[in-house]
Symmetry: C2
Subunit: 150 residues, 2 copies
DNA sequence: CTAATTTTGTCAAATTATTTGACAATAATA
DNA sequence: TATTATTGTCAAATAATTTGACAAAATTAG
């Protein structure tokens, strides 16, 4: 059985949030979001003048991280700078999800649970890393012999 | 260096989308979303009467999958049933992301790239699976000796 | 320390978006 | 064919957002 968890990827890339959601989830004020946007710290999409600003998922992550640094006592400028240094971490997590977790094409489902093929090991191309997910048990990572799909 | 990609997890769990976003991303009409909600196929959160309905990320995934089955020619009821059979796959992907990818506490960042510790192998607890992410290169999975954090 | 700048709060009017209920059209099923 | 399920469309009421403005508070520069 082969299934594609593509929706996950598409949803993450396409979903856009209204300003109020950004503020609510991140725990900052709408005024702050607007100001940060005006300063270019975050970007949004506005189809036409007077229409709602829409923010994507990754702008939300940015705002949440800036907020964390603000809470630690940094000024806005410093918080933005600290966040920028971490930017490639968020980008990396995003790549990992897209390329390995949601980019893979092989998901096996049976009564017992679900197995998600994360792809081959770099050191050893004959083996693949597989995540085993069963109810009531922690997610397990196991190695399996690579079996090319015919 | 230890960093926590916790924002990713929080954002996914807390972010809520307005009805219009659900419709736009999934490619269905607002009327459809409302009807499906009324039928109990998807759930939403409405704080008070007349206030906006908010849908979480996983309801969006549900809608997207139902839409896919509709496009394949299934009737609504059949599409919902097909989606229900896949429900545990989405749930599993969600668990994998939460427990392994975003639940882990160890992320190392340096100039060359980022390494994300996905945790120990189930067969061999002395080794951990690490994702190596570098610009311009595909995401690699490697095995490393497990080094307990002191 | 003081002045200038940055950042955020608040308010009000205009605009945009959503809800709700209703009726009708189309699709699916008995 | 009759019935039910599903979706389109419309209009009025309500809710949410934008925009611009002024002021307060926090930060930085002189």
């Amino acid at each position: 059985m082969r299934i594609f968890p593509k929706v996950f990827k598409t949803a993450m890339e396409k979903a856009q949030l209204p300003l109020s959601e950004m503020a609510r989830v991140a725990g900052v004020s709408a005024r702050q979001i607007r100001y940060w946007e005006k300063k270019g710290y975050i970007t949004s999409h506005q189809a036409q003048k007077n229409q709602n600003h829409k923010f994507n998922f990754f702008s939300l992550l940015k705002v949440m991280e800036i907020k964390e640094f603000l809470d630690e006592g940094y000024t806005l400028q410093a918080a933005v700078e600290k966040q920028r240094e971490r930017q490639n971490i968020l980008r990396s997590v995003r790549r990992l999800i897209n390329e390995r977790l949601l980019g893979v094409e092989e998901v096996a489902a049976c009564q017992e649970g679900v197995e998600i093929n994360l792809g081959p090991l770099d050191n050893d191309e004959t083996k693949v890393v597989v995540a085993q997910i069963k109810a009531g048990q922690p997610v397990k990572l196991i190695l399996k012999k690579h079996q090319p799909i015919d």
